[in-house]
Symmetry: C2
């Protein structure tokens, strides 16, 4: 069928571009930069307020153990802090430190994120719109796998 042939083309094109994207993003990682999962976790804490590691893991759709690795790194750099939940001894509540908040704000306000920079510099508003609309489709595709 034509639909299936087309689906195969789309799959190939999308996969190739995404693989390249992920590789490049990782390569552009400078020493001391936030990695992407770190940056994402920090954003979630900023937008969602203090929360447990498990809650964060759910937002990111990864296992709590995986989130643990990211959080350990953020904590080691003093960007987040963990304190026990007074109401439930099993729980740990994570929050941004002042340093973490400042870093996040600086990155956002100065628009220094590699990705944001590249998008703002090399793409037209119409192209940005296309990409913005593609994102939920990619997410739906991921969910339907």
């Amino acid at each position: 069928m034509d639909q299936d042939a087309h689906a195969n083309d789309v799959a190939r094109a999308l996969y190739a571009s995404i693989r390249l994207f992920v590789r490049r993003l990782r390569q552009r990682q400078a020493d001391g930069d936030l990695t992407m999962p770190e940056s994402s976790a920090l954003s979630h804490l900023d937008r969602g307020g203090p929360m447990t590691p498990t809650a964060l893991a759910k937002l990111e759709q990864i296992t709590p153990q995986s989130m643990g690795a990211t959080l350990a790194s953020l904590e080691a750099r003093g960007l987040v802090e963990r304190r026990p939940d007074p109401e439930d001894g099993r729980r740990v509540v994570l929050s941004l430190t002042d340093t973490g908040l400042e870093l996040l704000r600086n990155r956002r306000d100065a628009k220094t994120g590699e990705l944001t920079q590249a998008l703002a510099t090399h793409f037209t508003p119409a192209e940005l719109k296309q990409l913005l609309e593609a994102a939920p489709l990619i997410e739906r595709l991921a969910q339907s796998l």
Copy 2:
């Protein structure tokens, strides 16, 4: 600026969706399945004919060493074979074996690729078109990082 604020939104949405996509695709990997890089290398050999590891690496935009790992796995499963280039003793030429070709054809013809399947099943032609058009934009974004 509005453009920059928008760029930041696009960056976040795109990054989140792509990270999810890559994770899911890896998780859906069954034992004995081709991994994505393997499948991609096989496709390139099918479409481009026999070629050297370095040529393949260039097509995939990864280092020859990284390609080596993928090729070792494909060779171990008898899907590609390597023979010396008679004209240049340094070179090795890779080609699909009958088994490799058959596997590739079966996957393509039976449309069993997870991604193709999901796209054909859950997306409208208009959405497929959107995704197809987004692919080169993502690639350009990757290149401009």
